[in-house]
């Protein structure tokens, strides 16, 4: 486990923050006990990850008042993300100390009443704010006045905590804006006697020891990364001494260390953890200086390899510079360098990568391979609020992409290629099923994105319910497989004659198939049905969205001042090789 600096280090670093980063978010901390030092520590940790965050720390145990007062500083601050950090003593009151003075029925009634009160407050906040809310669950205290007999008693304190945590989960599971922070797991990880001590508690109602505030702050960072939609998409791996022990070119196929015995088991476990990430949608790639045949033989044939060729979406095994290989991997996968995490045991390679490509997160891999798994577990960069179907199919989609590329090479004419792809476009409305993916695309798509407006999940939900706004998405299939939902559009109805195309984006993996024309064709047809004369839009240039810069003129939009306008009297040239279905 990474050893943390003391809180005082963070309080001092906090004074010197530069906060000049493009990713910006407002974070509020509300709590039932003293959490001084937490907001400063989170700001420092965000700064280390190139995130500029402003923070608001609510008054001591004032969370109800601040939430219920729409004129409070909390609402003035307008957080994007709010942590509500509660503790069992504050919520349970006397029930915490005297649980055995009540019957099971009384205990459940009391708990339900307290939780319902809490849920009402949370619901009020979510309705009146654009913030996502992260609520801590409760840790189970190890002490019981019943001592060893407590486990024989019905609905004991542990049962009560389990019951409460289950209720919290049930309350939040279908709510897009509310998430649980597993405080119980945090206390288990670091130990109750470390996180909580009575001197802190009596001195200032400090229920997380000052030494553990930095560890606690670490555990909050994944939520911030997820809220900003800046999670990493791809892990690029070295091979020798990274995926297996030893050097295949020197030690040979039979000489490398990979298997159930030490030290091969450390690499085996590392590979299993990488495979689990791949299965949830993180793309894996190889960047290794090696003889291709030696390395690929291990990947294909070694009996203890967990990761096989089909698990990698890009494979660069050669003697080229690793930096140029990395560019090729990013290009091949059509992802930004800032979406990549790099693992390499060689400190020289790591330094080279950090210096040449600072946008890539190059992990400081420890010398001891038994620490590899821990290092992977400690990375918050893969955090997402929700894993969608598209995420879990991503690697499969990239494998299909490889097949498509081979197919493209054998089909020289682009139109012939597209015609032979059997493209299908399914237009879907925004709803509870599609909104998580719509939100994800809006937060993450950079290249084929007309205006790069980053709407929150709450705003998307509001758009869905707004009759003056049309929000939809597009699923794309071809003969090689299903790309999933890869396009989003948002139309604002300006008046009875004009619509405004506010957002139009496609995932980078389907650019170049004229899918955008299929979606626009749908929008134009809908506009005509509604008697609209003009569709307006705007191209907002960013560092990354040049692929979409000619989209509007290419589709017949004319520039008028700062806007582009499409006259619906004009016929739209829709590619005939795309089959459109409307759900």
């Amino acid at each position: 486990m990474i050893k943390e600096y003391p809180l005082s280090e963070y309080l001092n670093k906090f004074i010197e923050l530069d906060n000049e980063h493009k990713n910006h978010t407002n974070i509020a901390f509300l709590s039932s006990f003293t959490i001084n030092g937490l907001s400063e520590t989170v700001q420092v940790k965000c700064n280390e990850k190139k995130i500029y965050c402003d923070t608001y720390a609510g008054g001591y145990n004032q969370f109800s008042q601040e939430i219920l007062n729409l004129k409070s500083k909390l609402y003035d601050f307008s957080p994007n993300l709010t942590f509500l950090i509660l503790d069992l003593r504050s919520v349970l009151g006397d029930l915490f100390f005297f649980p055995y003075s009540y019957t099971e029925k009384e205990k459940k009634e009391l708990i339900n009443s307290k939780l319902n009160e809490l849920f009402e407050i949370i619901t009020f906040f979510v309705k009146n704010s654009n913030s996502k809310l992260v609520l801590t669950n409760f840790n189970s205290p190890s002490y019981s006045s019943y001592g060893i007999a407590s486990m024989k008693s019905n609905f004991n304190l542990k049962d009560m905590v389990l019951y409460m945590n289950k209720k919290l989960q049930e309350f939040t599971i279908n709510k897009n804006s509310i998430f649980i922070f597993d405080f119980d797991a945090f206390v288990s990880k670091f130990g109750e006697k470390n996180v909580f001590n009575y001197q802190n508690y009596f001195f200032g109602d400090i229920k997380i020891d000052l030494d553990y505030i930095p560890y606690f702050a670490n555990e909050l960072i994944p939520y911030i990364i997820a809220q900003l939609g800046i999670s990493k998409k791809c892990i690029v791996l070295d091979l020798d001494n990274t995926l297996w022990g030893g050097i295949v070119g020197e030690d040979g196929f039979d000489g490398i260390k990979l298997g159930p015995q030490l030290p091969g088991n450390t690499y085996l476990e590392f590979q299993k953890n990488l495979k689990a990430l791949k299965n949830r949608g993180i793309i894996l790639a190889i960047n290794s200086k090696n003889n291709f045949n030696d390395a690929i033989q291990v990947i294909n044939e070694h009996p203890n390899m967990i990761l096989r060729k089909e698990d990698f979406s890009s494979i660069m095994i050669n003697w080229n510079n690793k930096v140029s290989n990395m560019y090729e991997i990013a290009q091949e996968l059509n992802i930004g360098l800032d979406s990549i995490v790099f693992f390499d045991d060689d400190p020289v390679n790591r330094e080279l990568m950090r210096t040449s490509l600072p946008d890539i997160l190059t992990v400081e891999l420890p010398k001891d391979s038994s620490e590899y798994v821990n290092t992977l577990h400690e990375l918050p960069e893969f955090s997402m609020f929700e894993i969608t179907d598209e995420d879990s199919k991503r690697s499969e989609m990239y494998a299909q992409q490889q097949t498509r590329k081979e197919f493209e090479i054998s089909t020289p004419n682009l139109e012939d290629l597209l015609r032979n792809l059997s493209l299908e476009l399914i237009i879907k409305k925004s709803n509870n099923f599609t909104n998580p993916r719509i939100s994800q695309l809006i937060l993450k798509t950079n290249q084929f994105n007309l205006t790069t407006k980053r709407y929150t999940a709450e705003e998307i939900l509001n758009f869905t319910n707004d009759e003056n706004i049309i929000i939809g998405c597009a699923q794309v299939k071809d003969k090689f497989g299903d790309h999933g939902i890869t396009g989003v559009f948002i139309i604002k109805k300006l008046n009875s004659n004009e619509w405004f195309l506010d957002t139009f984006l496609l995932s980078c993996r389907i650019i170049g198939r004229e899918i955008e024309k299929g979606i626009l064709n749908y929008i134009i047809n809908e506009a005509k049905k509604n008697g609209i004369k003009i569709i307006k839009s705007q191209y907002v240039r960013t560092e990354k969205n040049t692929p979409i810069q000619d989209f509007l003129p290419n589709c017949g939009f004319k520039q008028i001042n700062n806007f582009w306008e499409y006259d619906l009297n004009n016929a739209f040239n829709m590619p005939d090789f795309i089959k459109i279905e409307i759900e």
């Binding site: 003391p6 005082s8 001092n12 001197q199 001195f203």
Partner: protein, 79 residues
């Protein structure tokens, strides 16, 4: 001299080393809030490997009080 102790106080209270003396405390250093006072005690516990009682923690009004408690715990401050 209690150079190391003064350095710790200066770091936690974010004041210049030259402004620290045995009479420094919440009354003379504005940043010496009750929370920073507690962070300071925490830092001293780690640095000198001692454990203050809650009475000792409550008793601190100036640096000389800290020195007295540290000496009672066997810490030699002649650095």
């Amino acid at each position: 001299m209690s150079k190391k102790l003064y350095e710790i106080v200066a770091k936690i209270m974010k004041v210049s080393f030259s402004k620290i003396n045995d009479n420094s405390g919440p009354k003379t250093i504005p940043s010496w809030t009750s929370f920073n006072g507690y962070v300071l005690l925490h830092e001293l516990v780690s640095h000198y490997n001692v454990q203050f009682t809650i009475d000792e923690a409550m008793d601190v009004e100036k640096i000389s009080d800290i020195k007295r408690h540290l000496k009672n715990h066997g810490v030699n401050l002649d650095d």
